[in-house]
Amino acid sequence: MVDIPEHLLLKTAEARAKALGISVEQALAEMRGEAEPTKIEKEPDVIEVTPIEVEVKETPAPAAAVKETPAPAAEKSNGQVPTEVDFAPETKVTQRLLTVVKAKPIQKPTSEPVDKVNTWPHLMLPEFISLMAMTAFLIFISAILQAPLLEEANPNITPNPAKAPWYFLGLQELLSYWDPQIAGVMIPLIIGVAAFMAIPYIDRNKENNPSKRKYAIMLWTFFLAGAGTLSLIGILFRGPGWNWTYPWIDGVWFDDLLDWVHFE
């Protein structure tokens, strides 16, 4: 027999003694099998139930039968049913319900399983190949394209036109339309950068399927097209005095790609 801890045994015996109206020692002895179990003298109160008479019709539709059943409340009013129903007679109780523990796993799965592959080799190998390809491309382009080096810096000789690095040429082109003193430069730039950073906080649409975020994609594509056009104008179509020039007629003023632009 399984060893039951002493305090639990005592607790159960007390409950049994209380239920049966016997002494604790007696109950303890019974539980240990040392004494005959006490017989239950008091029979549980039996609830008299008068069978409900249902008029059977020729075609008994279930819904109709239910309808004609006398309501239990009406029967109660007859006085035949005891006013207080003892559903759990004390004499029958030999154990108590302490608590109900719901059956659930200790670890809760928080996310759905995702289709995954091993990083090695499925990610690391393509990564390695693309790094090698990039290295090869860089060495190749560095071997055939000479980085520009003009005359030594001279603050007294201003080249015409003086162009900013290519990634600022779109901005320089944009600023040529307005007097920079009026347009301001850094403030719009800072606001622009702040707007970029705020994108995820402005766009609260949770979808990432392109067909469900057409407006956002349209805006970004407009931005790309605008920035690209302005940059290309600044790079290819601006000559001395920031005047409009055609690269195929007047030539190109873009020293970043000196080696490409000047064919000797």
Binding site: V117, N118, T119, L123, S130, S142, Q172, M186, W220, D256
Partner: protein, 259 residues
């Protein structure tokens, strides 16, 4: 005679195999490679060993053992984030190499000239540094566009997008400060134009320009300032933000999607 030769070959093979085994069992070898590393146990293709390759590798800081299947498709990311990081590494290596031959003084232009003419691989390394810098600006911007088109900035990745914008700005600043260093007419006037644009800042324009140029115009003081920013200050800052960026990519659940 021929038999003896084969025997000698076999013996040599045995000796080298034995040497290899004793090397792999040595304390030194075991201290270099972690237990479970394929360099220690040998590699045969199994799911367990595929995990071990990543887990016993310093790249475990960057890559998890498993990634979402759609994310390894080349057409999904075009490898743009990885290539941004890689061009940064190429720029660091070539940049350190260039620092051996470059002085940010009135000698700067002469140093670049001698780099191109009299130093072995000088021209190649300078070209690589310059083209890689242009490519990095381009690739970082394309990476940003890719992320936008995939909606990859949405919750829970909002803050990583903010860090990405900071990284773009730092990339532009690194490129801009490096632009001045050859100290030729292209460099000084491009930076002058850029600095003058900053000088149109409302209210503080003059101060911003003064801080940028270390004076009223681009001089050798500007050269030193840009040099320190370019080789030390900005790389230091960008590495910190890159570390946070990569960490957040993994913490926010790896690659976004599928679409």
């Amino acid at each position: 005679m021929k038999n003896e030769k084969i025997k000698f070959k076999d013996r040599l093979k045995d000796i080298s195999a034995g040497l290899g085994d004793s090397l792999k069992e040595s304390t030194l070898w075991g201290s270099i490679f972690r237990p479970g590393s394929p360099f220690r146990k040998g590699y045969s293709d199994s799911p367990r060993n595929r995990s071990y390759v990543v887990m016993n590798n310093v790249l475990y800081h960057l890559h998890p053992v498993k990634v979402k299947r759609h994310g390894v498709r080349l057409s999904y990311t075009l490898c743009l984030g990885g290539l941004s990081f890689f061009t940064f590494i190429v720029l660091t290596i070539t940049g350190i190499w260039l620092m051996f031959y470059f002085r940010p003084t009135e000698m700067a232009y002469v140093d670049i000239q001698s780099l191109q003419t009299s130093i072995a691989f000088g021209s190649l390394v300078r070209n690589m540094h310059r083209w890689a810098a242009h490519i990095m600006v381009l690739v970082v911007f394309l990476h940003m566009s890719r992320v936008f088109y995939h909606g990859a900035y949405k919750a829970p990745r909002e803050f990583n997008w903010v860090i990405g914008v900071i990284l773009l700005i730092l990339t532009l600043l690194l490129s801009f400060t490096g632009y001045l260093l050859p100290w030729d007419q292209l460099a000084i006037w491009a930076v002058t134009v850029g600095g003058n644009m900053a000088g149109y800042t409302p209210v503080f324009g003059a101060q911003v320009k003064f801080a940028l140029f270390a004076g009223l115009e681009a001089t050798e003081a500007t050269l030193l300032r840009f040099y320190v920013l370019h080789v030390l200050f900005l790389p230091f800052i960008i590495v910190i933000f890159m570390a946070i960026h990569f960490w957040r990519v993994r913490k926010d659940g790896g690659i976004s999607g599928p679409l």
